[in-house]
Symmetry: C2
Subunit: 341 residues, 2 copies
């Protein structure tokens, strides 16, 4: 270890706190040690420069926030209580130590807010910036956790919050003009740059009897298809019922897209999509309202094996969400959010 | 998700098994679910093309083995029972799907051998190949775990197995000639390409009363310094007492280095370095022998705050191990293994 690395690691350590009594050892040892009594839920995500983000349109602080938020969103989708996080960073020489620390600070601010402890990680040189995040959550019993494979014919399809905001924010970043009221535009950019995982709602929904759940990271068109495939059912969504963020219609018009198609294909909203039996409807509405994430019912589950996205005339639309391997740049990501029949 | 990604993910799933009853859910959901009753030990490592490895001198199968082995070695250093692993891959377009699957197969073969379950991960496009590995282990009590900060003056310094083999193997890969007997050369290459984590020995040593422990990933010169710094003591190692792999002397001569200096600076042996009180000596020797990793005693702990590497004349040598941020290529890694006063 040279002085430079040691100083950077010390500076990172100084910025991190312990936000949970579970954590017995963090940072400095070969491994972190955490108390666990029941089930541990673990998710891993990698975010790569030029694929998931562009340094031209994100600050390192926002990037740290967003990578951790997106990872924690996987815990929300399962309904686990968030616990710990680990960050493995690939750092090009062009990223200054100050910027690396800003990335850490952005992640740590979110972690502190959510009671999550950043317990460790790794640093490496690399040619492109990447952030690999591991998050762990906790649950007492599998009964309290949702999966992707539980959808049943007759279920209703619900979604938390509003959609399309993150996609609209990305289009704004790329086009640099939008004509929206300043506050509306700022909220869309915030949804793109600093999403918040629906952790409280995820726990509430899993306990309120959802049959299956997933977070909307790659876009409803991709994520709903996963639910349908893992469950072996047909999932029908009426696009006109999608709850849209304010301003999405205006941005969609600029981009030459139908607003619901933008919302269904652009991704990164990190809302929760789930299916539940009709008799759980009232309980779910109350639970999610209490968790600050009101639910909108957008479709139903039928026997079959497909995703059907229906427009206002009942015509099936063919939309694609985000693809981690086929898209080479974050700019492509904006372009990919287009509809095709 | 396009067809290509889905096919690749299906092919990966088909190659992975569950090797532990702890694992309730793996692959396919947003997160894996694992039973834990006591302590969970977690470590994260990133391996980057051109920094930690070169595709010119490693097969993808060996790379998968080595990345997982190096990560599990962190659990060995703590004395945790190995449990689960997660792989986040950055995949350049130049890496074919067949090669990606070979990487997975290499990791899975090791995982199966050790009773470790690969529970999930992530795939992303990238410009350079990277492998971010998260491993989790289990322990019933903190009393059974070792850390880095427990060295005490009067402790003996011990190391498992033999050193220098991985470094010598790397020099052989780069120089393409060595003049060693075929079998000896093959063993050195194997140590470089397919290291084995000292998991059983780590558990045995942690229970046999070591005060502190670390795995030799970056080289004794770097890793012993960490023990000294974290513990706030002076750690004295006599270089002539280092147990060398067969063939290290010959390769060191080709490289113009003293054999012990190669062994102390080159890294990647993944043996365990520890300190223990003299009265634990006999128990430690027996426990590590039973675990297939005989111990050699190479120094002692004194009051102070430094690492002292002494040559056969008692003169202090200044050696450096491997540095993750300052070295840009795996070739540099070989060059870095040189001594300087």
């Amino acid at each position: 270890m040279t002085c430079r690395v040691l100083v950077l690691i010390e500076a990172i350590r100084a910025r991190l706190g312990r936000h949970s009594d579970r954590v017995l050892r963090a940072l400095g040892d070969d491994a972190a040690v955490v108390k666990a009594d029941g089930l541990v839920v673990t998710s891993v995500d990698a975010f790569v420069e030029g694929v998931h983000f562009r340094l031209a349109t994100t600050s390192l602080r926002d990037l740290g926030h967003k990578c951790l938020a997106a990872s924690l969103s996987d815990l929300a989708a399962v309904g686990a209580e968030p616990g710990e996080a680990y960050l493995a960073l690939g750092l090009p020489t062009g990223v200054a130590e100050r910027e690396t620390l800003e990335l850490i600070e952005g992640a740590e601010a979110l972690a502190e807010n959510l009671g999550v402890t950043i317990c460790g990680g790794d640093l490496s040189a690399s040619n492109e910036l990447f952030v690999a995040v591991t998050v762990t959550g906790h649950a007492s019993s599998e009964d309290n956790l949702a999966g992707r494979d539980g959808c049943r014919p007759g279920d209703l399809v619900g979604v938390t919050g509003r959609l399309g905001g993150a996609g609209a924010g990305l289009i704004m970043l790329e086009r640099k003009e939008h004509g929206l009221p300043v506050e509306v535009g700022a909220r869309l950019l915030e949804r793109q740059r600093r999403p918040w995982p629906r952790l409280e709602a995820g726990i509430a929904l899993a306990r309120a009897g959802v049959h299956a759940m997933i977070d909307l990271s790659d876009g409803l068109a991709s994520d709903a298809l996963r639910l349908a495939e893992e469950s072996g059912i047909e999932l029908v969504v009426e696009l006109e019922r999608l709850p849209l963020d304010e301003g999405v219609e205006a941005v969609a018009e600029i981009a030459g897209m139908a607003p619901a198609e933008l919302a269904a294909s652009a991704g990164e909203d990190y809302e929760l999509l789930f299916t539940a039996p009709p008799d759980a409807r009232q309980g779910i509405e109350t639970a999610s309202e209490d968790a600050g994430a009101p639910v909108t019912w957008i479709g139903e589950v039928r026997p079959g094996a497909a995703l059907r996205l229906l427009d206002e005339r009942g015509v099936q639309r063919s939309l694609r969400g985000w693809d981690h391997l086929d898209s080479r740049t974050a700019t492509d990501r904006g372009r990919r959010g287009r509809a095709s029949r």
